[in-house]
C-alpha cells in the first residue's frame, strides 16, 4: 500500500473537488463536498480495494488523508 496511490484513490471518490485539492495533508472533513455519502464510499474503498474494513467512528477520528492511509495500512 502506497501513500500517493491511496491519495489518488481517495480523490477518485469525489466528483466536484479538484484532485489537486486533495493531498496527504488535506483535512478532508473540511472539504465542501465531504458528506456521509462520500464517507460510505471511502469505507467501501477500504474494504474492496484494500480488503480492510474500517468503521465510521475510525473514519471520523482521522483528520488528514494520511491519517486515514495509516489507519488502513496498519489494520
Amino acid at each position: 500500500m502506497e501513500l500517493n496511490e491511496f491519495v489518488a484513490n481517495f480523490a477518485e471518490q469525489f466528483d466536484d473537488t479538484d484532485a489537486s485539492e486533495i493531498t496527504a495533508s488535506c483535512v478532508f472533513h473540511d472539504l465542501d463536498e465531504w458528506s456521509s455519502l462520500i464517507g460510505m464510499s471511502i469505507i467501501a474503498l477500504a474494504r474492496t480495494e484494500y480488503g480492510k474494513p474500517i468503521t465510521g467512528a475510525e473514519l471520523k477520528a482521522c483528520v488528514t488523508v494520511e491519517d486515514l492511509f495509516n489507519l488502513i495500512k496498519n489494520k
Partner: protein, 253 residues
Amino acid sequence: MGQFNPFTLVGKQILVTGASSGIGKAIAVACAKMGATVIVTGRNVERLNETLSLMPEGDHKAISADLTKAEDIESLVTELPKLDGLVQCAGVGSRVPCKNISKEDLQRILMPNVEAPILLQTAILAKKKINKAASIVYVASRAANAPSVGNAAYSASKGAIISYAKCLALELAPRLIRVNCICPGMVWTELILKDGVEKEQLEQSQLTYPLKRFGQPEDIANLAIYLLSDASSWMTGSSLDISGGGEGILTLN
C-alpha cells in the same frame, strides 16, 4: 371456559430463521412464550442455544444451518417436523453507495436476503413440511419503499422478497396457508450499526420518528405473534409497516 386469547400459539410448531440475534431472536422467544414449540435456526450454535435458554420449558430445538448453502437447507428441512408457522427473518444489512456497489456486495446482500429464503421455502414446500392453514411471515423492511442513502442494494433485496411473498400467498391460498410480510422501520439491532453508521447518529435520528424512538425487537415480535396466530386468519398477501409512525428509514446529513 378458558380465557379469551385469539393470539395463542399453543399447539403450533414454528420455525424461525435468523434466530440467533436481533428481531429473529425476539420473535422466537415470544412465540415460545405464547405456547408454540419453536425450532430456531441460524449459523452460530452457541447463540442459538442462548435464544433457547430464554424460552419457557418445551420441546424447542436449535438446528444450526447456513441457509446460503444448499446442503444446509437440505439437512435442516429433513430434520423439521410439519410446521404451522414459519418466520423468515435471517438477513444482513449493508450500506454501500450506488457508485461503489460491486458484484461481491450484491452477492453478500442478495444471497442471504433473497436467494436463501426463497430456496428454503422451495425445500419446505417440496418436502411437504408445512401444514394446511399454516402462517408464513417474511421479515422485510420499510427500506423497500423508503429510500435512504447507501441503502440501494439492501432496499432492492427487501423489495424483491415482498414481491416474492405476494406471489407465494396466491399459490398457497388454496391450502389456506397465509403469507404476510412485516416491514419494520429502524429497530435497535446489530444490523443497523453498519458500514459507517454510528450509534450517536442513530440516537439523534430516532427523534425524527413521530413516536420519538426506533423500535425494539419485541415491538416486531408482537406483530409476528398476531400474524402467526389464528387471529389473523383473514390476512394474506399483505405487508405491514411497523415503524413508530416513521416514513423513512434513516436520514443522514
